[in-house]
Assembly symmetry: C2
Homo-oligomer: 179 residues x 2
DNA sequence: CCTATTTAGTTCTAATAAGAACCAAATATA
DNA sequence: TATATTTGGTTCTTATTAGAACTAAATAGG
């Protein structure tokens, strides 16, 4: 089979659709005077009585360097608080404040209604098809990485660094370790 | 029908799959000592003998404020150059330098092969299904915006601002213009 | 022809993104 | 028990993101 001659349109479509959705979701977040990552965090914390940074990063796919900054800004807005872990001196628990909880209770029905109306013309089968095709692609991506398992964010990030190093070294002709 | 009680898993899947793909693509960009947006610009410019910022922004979905900064950095790397437009005093043409063109010729086959191998287990029908389900969602998002047409980036951005203003005003009980 | 409006690209601001380096705490190993 | 390694969160750096405000140029309208 001859080498491919153009960028797969389906991947362009993936990126465009994702961007369109994020812009759409950001509009509603904006009415709550939140950014999208901040809203995502509120929706994640609202279902828990506090969460470690590690866990919160895993659930929201925000890397830890970035997460520290976002939590700082949300703490400054009075939406969350940090509580030292009783069981791990390194850890802190992030919890919604009373104001954060109030915002969560307001935001949830609004946001769910807002995003679910995208699917008002969809059947359950339509939704299942879209979801399974996306999952299949995500699995293909992980398979192409050479590791079929899905990893927590920082492991993925750490692993990306390793793969990048291997790619770069391989390009330069160096001996590489086991892949 | 009762109000939805959870965030649609399919949208979480969209965001995760997109992020997985961007991480995957970034790995290859990294071997070329480029960021993903920079690689995207090189792949876009490589097929043209120069392009205005406006056109480049439309094709890459990068807003113009951001694009100026990226082109500055690429110019500093010696990959692109700016040429004043002969027909519009406001415009500049962005064109790959010789080094940029060389990198383009190296990058294209590598990158196309790299991303196309995600689909080695896919049939043409599989790809078409994924693409059409994504396109349908994207159209649903635009429909939910209240405007079924797809717009160039800045128009979309400008339009988002208008919608945000209307949403915000509506929340506050003000009289709003026609929607 | 003159005035008003729109547009192309730049500058600026705030937020986010990714990831390396760091330090202290936890865990693993000998 | 002591040493080595890993981990949680922070700080720092670089890049990107979005969008408002700006200036000069182009276009529209009277």
């Amino acid at each position: 089979m001859s080498p491919p001659t153009e960028f797969p349109r389906v991947l362009s479509e993936l990126v465009r659709t994702n961007q369109a959705f994020l812009n759409y979701a950001a509009i509603h977040a904006y009415t709550l005077e939140l950014t999208l990552p901040q809203l995502d965090i509120i929706l994640t914390l609202g279902h828990a009585f506090g969460m470690t940074f590690k866990r919160l990063g895993e659930k929201t796919l925000i890397t830890k360097g970035t997460l520290t900054g976002i939590i700082n800004r949300m703490e400054h807005k009075g939406l969350v608080q940090r509580i030292a872990s009783k069981t791990d001196g390194r850890s802190q628990i992030v919890r919604l404040t009373t104001a954060g909880q109030t915002l969560f209770e307001q935001a949830v029905p609004e946001h769910l209604d807002y995003v679910n109306q995208l699917f008002k013309e969809y059947s359950l089968e339509d939704i299942a098809t879209l979801e399974s095709t996306l999952l299949r692609l995500r699995k293909a991506i992980f398979a192409a990485h050479g590791d079929g398992s899905e990893k927590p964010v920082d492991e993925i990030a750490g692993w990306c660094t390793q793969v990048k190093a291997v790619c770069k070294n391989y390009q330069e002709g160096d001996v590489v370790g086991p892949c």
